[in-house]
Symmetry: C2
Subunit: 339 residues, 2 copies
DNA sequence: CGGGTATTTGCATACCTATGCAAGCGACCG
DNA sequence: CGGTCGCTTGCATAGGTATGCAAATACCCG
């Protein structure tokens, strides 16, 4: 086990000062080409790399982004996280994971740990953090970007797809398909994504003079969604179409309809999901769904976070990215549908 | 934006020395109860938390574990990572994510970055790092645990399920089911998991006096697995059973058989997977598979890593955890099967 | 009540790097 | 040829914490 090699060691080896070594590895510092070459050669020989901790201590920037996440069973998130990590690495940042309890979110502890590690910024995903996070991070001056979740009035930047627009598109497609009893299974009822999808959906239904036939609560959870579907279909007047607030739940609903209730999708009931996770395209489901443009959402998230790092006083922005309806076969296709 | 509050500030506020403050927050240091109470009160009042970077700098332990990961589309990994993160947080460690290129692994860069951040240990998942990692980490004295992958002869600790045993169980189940043409679609052909599953599978077939009917390469990738299945079924004498090296690929194979080729599973072909990801239990697939006991694998990984952190010279261990065959309906169930 | 031990506290320093400041140097211009 | 400017380099220090050492205090037993 070799001892850690420091800038001092390199300086000695190259016969220069420690500051010179530091400057060679500090972007934008003033060094002559010869000095740079000489130092790099010694560094190479000794296997030197600047200590990110020490660097972070003195610059006040750790180049660590805290990723706060509750659950990863919805496959939308792993994909997003992978892309986020890539994008941030390209900018010289890395993600430090903080997992919260799945149900009761241990906000206090998470925030403490985020501060301990001197994270430069925070990204949250699959999670609703209460106002505590807002306060604590504002106090500590740590920029926050909410990924795929907004907290209205929180003053935090948020990146989502255009959920209201998505809900509207789902409704319009089902209406065009001639459905008469259109229902919705929402996600976690306090999540902005779920709320907005419902709002957009209901508004379009209302505009067509047709109300929401039924509403169930799936809590962004497979089992709850399945149960909600069962209850809904058990009613005297079951729906002939269900818009489900995300794909993860929509697949569960399809399973319940087909295997528990022996119904046909879309013969008996049309299903529309939200996210366009990879599985939605699998032939067993072939789920019509609203695509969340992950790449663009990730790019926007990183861009916004970097902007906040540069100018912490910058006002928060709410970025909504529109995604298309991906028409597959889980919902009846209206005659002559082209859009 | 409040300035960072340091141990100095707390010391002043409490009227004690900075060392006293430090000791209160250092486990195992000698402090009187009154001192502790007093300091904690001031710390609370000022909102002080020890700076993990500075602490890491001086103790030489960052309490950061590098997680090196290539891809997350196999849902086995997100689940495992979530559990890993939880378990490590309970021990006061956090995961810093390093994503590698999906194909060409940029070993050099990843190793450099791992060293930059002074990670205390490394966990790799869904990835084959060449000998470079071994060398570099041995040189830097950083313990490594390979999760769900072993590199024989690397001298690195590894935690996997008992892949050979799993392969054997798959073969025995298919043999008991009276299958005559038993094939295999392997994963990434250099991955130890894939190799071992194949070895166990073939050995059991051989022992029964029956050879491997066909072998395809799915590269742990959905599209490749689908292609391999098509080729295999296109042969003059197609298999009547396929053991696929993980669930992720097995589901793709089932889709190809049912939807592209119009075959019945298990009527025409029996399928067995490996992992027991959540989707395997979904009624659309109801996949017979070998369970990887994620919880126990994670626990073993964390335990082994902590042991290595305590005693870096400890010899590497190879931990294999046996998992059961989960019998569902994607493979013909032998008459009177009880095991 | 004294001497010795155990415990607690403060002082000073180390960890490793970045950076302000001043000095050195060459170059360029008038 | 002298003065000024720009660039490069080294010196010294800071950033926030942990810890060895010595001093101080408390405690115990004889």
């Amino acid at each position: 086990m070799a001892k850690k090699v420091t800038s001092q060691d390199v300086a000695r080896h190259a016969g220069v000062s420690q500051s010179a070594v530091s400057r060679v590895f500090t972007k934008g510092a003033s060094v002559s080409p010869e000095m740079a070459a000489r130092v790099r050669k010694s560094a190479e020989a000794l296997g030197y790399r600047p200590n990110a901790l020490a660097r972070g201590l003195i610059t006040g920037r750790s180049r660590i982004i805290g990723l706060v996440v509750a659950y990863l069973d919805n496959p939308f998130y792993p994909d997003a996280i992978e892309k986020l990590s890539h994008a941030l690495q390209a900018e010289g940042y890395h993600l430090l994971i903080f997992t919260t309890g799945k149900h009761g979110i241990d906000t206090e502890r998470v925030i403490s740990e985020l501060i301990d590690y001197q994270v430069d910024g925070i990204i949250t995903a699959s999670i609703n953090l209460s106002g505590e996070l807002t306060r604590a991070c504002a106090a500590a001056g740590i920029p926050v970007v909410l990924f795929n979740r907004g907290i209205p009035g929180s003053g935090l930047s948020a990146v989502t797809s255009d959920n209201q627009s998505g809900g509207r598109k789902a409704a319009e497609f089902l209406l065009a398909g001639g459905h008469a009893r259109i229902a919705h299974i929402q996600g976690f009822e306090k999540a902005s994504t779920s709320i907005d999808r419902l709002i957009g959906f209901e508004m379009a239904l209302d505009a067509a003079g047709q109300g929401l036939h039924a509403l169930g609560n799936g809590k962004y959870d497979r089992a709850s969604a399945a149960e909600a579907a069962r209850v809904m279909m058990d009613a005297p007047d079951p729906p002939d179409a269900i818009f489900v607030a995300n794909d993860h739940m929509a697949l569960a609903v399809m399973d319940v309809l087909r295997f528990d209730l022996g119904l046909s999708v879309p013969g008996d009931v049309s299903i529309i999901g939200y996210d366009d996770v990879p599985m939605a395209a699998w032939p067993s489901y072939d789920l019509t769904t609203l695509r969340q443009p992950t790449r663009r959402m990730v790019a926007a998230t990183v861009e916004e976070l970097l902007a906040l790092l540069d100018a912490p006083t910058r006002p928060a922005r709410r970025i909504e990215i529109d995604g298309p309806l991906v028409v597959r076969t889980s919902a009846r296709i209206p005659d002559g549908w082209t859009q």
